[in-house]
């Protein structure tokens, strides 16, 4: 058998040097694919987690309370000589911020727990008053507007 083996050994084929390069390149590509796979899995996981968290938080968000604003005096469409009262009761008791706009400009800003007892100096004959109330604890807001006349 010795000679037979020798005969076959003579016709053995050796790989070209570029095989080393090809194999190394292939393994580098494989490693890259593995890392890319891990990265995309992490990305998908993080995205899913973020989305789930967002949905969870939005579903569990407290429903803002209904704010009731009552005017102590009916101020709407009333005529006042120079000064119009602003007496408003806000329910339920909470911490509110409010803004009073007179003819589009901010006239007054403040905070209240329920009552607003104020007055507005009016110079124009026709005045548009707008009241914005925001509940700082429970969320929610309310807006009220009316005309007062100065004659």
């Amino acid at each position: 058998m010795g000679n037979e083996v020798e005969v076959f050994q003579r016709i053995r084929k050796s790989p070209p040097p570029q095989l080393d390069v090809k194999v190394k390149r292939g393994i580098r590509k494989l490693k890259f694919q593995r890392y890319a796979g891990i990265f995309s899995l992490v990305f998908v996981f993080a995205f899913t987690l973020g989305a789930s968290l967002r949905i969870f938080l939005s579903l569990n968000k407290e429903i803002p309370q209904i704010i009731t604003v009552t005017m102590r005096e009916n101020l709407k469409d009333k005529i006042y000589p120079g000064v119009a009262p602003l007496k408003v009761e806000v329910e339920p008791v909470s911490v509110y911020s409010y803004k009073v706009y007179l003819n589009g400009d901010v006239y007054r800003e403040g905070y209240t727990s329920g009552d607003i007892d104020d007055s507005i100096v009016i110079n124009d004959p026709v005045n548009y008053v707008n009241l914005e109330i925001v509940d700082l604890i429970n969320g929610g807001e309310k807006e009220l507007s009316w005309f007062v006349y100065n004659f």
Partner: protein, 169 residues
């Protein structure tokens, strides 16, 4: 101790390439297939448990990869060894050195004219030095079939070298 891929590659690249070349008879394609086989070895190196020798394990991956390759290409049209020809084939055709082996090119050409399974068994036995038992496991055939296939392949080679009828691929 962890097995380093570089060590496996350096030790068996010649064996794998030679086997692949003699099965497909195409140098460039043999390079590509050898690369694919070593990528597969790299991927599966952690699964090697040492139940067989590293040489047998590497060769089994090469054989499976080539069988898949032929299956995919629908090239694989093996002429299966006929059991009824075993007795005849078991007659030793005589040592190969008695054949006209002086001309290496002639031997190469003769080998190329053999059937796929004939080239395969000659390559495994004579070029890569696998024993009958190892070939039997690698090709998943009985030991007797290994011996008769080897005799049959030698007979075919002798026939081609002496100008007899050739099988073609």
């Amino acid at each position: 101790m962890a097995i380093r891929f570089d060590d496996v590659y350096n030790e068996y690249k010649e064996m794998v390439f030679n086997y692949v070349f003699w099965r497909i008879n195409d140098y460039d394609e043999a390079v590509d297939l050898t690369q694919e086989i070593f990528i597969k070895i790299y991927k599966n190196l952690g699964k090697f448990k040492g139940e067989s020798s590293m040489k047998t394990w590497v060769m089994s991956i090469a054989i499976n990869h080539l069988n898949d390759f032929f299956r995919k290409k629908k090239k694989f049209n093996p002429v299966y060894f006929e059991e009824n020809s075993r007795e005849d084939d078991c007659d030793d055709p005589g040592p190969i050195e008695e054949m006209d082996l002086e001309d290496t090119i002639k031997v190469e050409r003769a080998l190329q004219k053999l059937k796929d399974w004939e080239r395969e068994i000659l390559t495994l036995y004579y070029m890569e030095g696998f024993q009958y038992e190892e070939i039997s496991k690698l090709l998943n055939i009985p030991l007797g079939t290994v011996k008769s296939r080897l005799n049959s392949a030698k007979k075919s080679l002798k026939k081609v070298l002496t100008g007899g009828v050739t099988h073609g691929k």
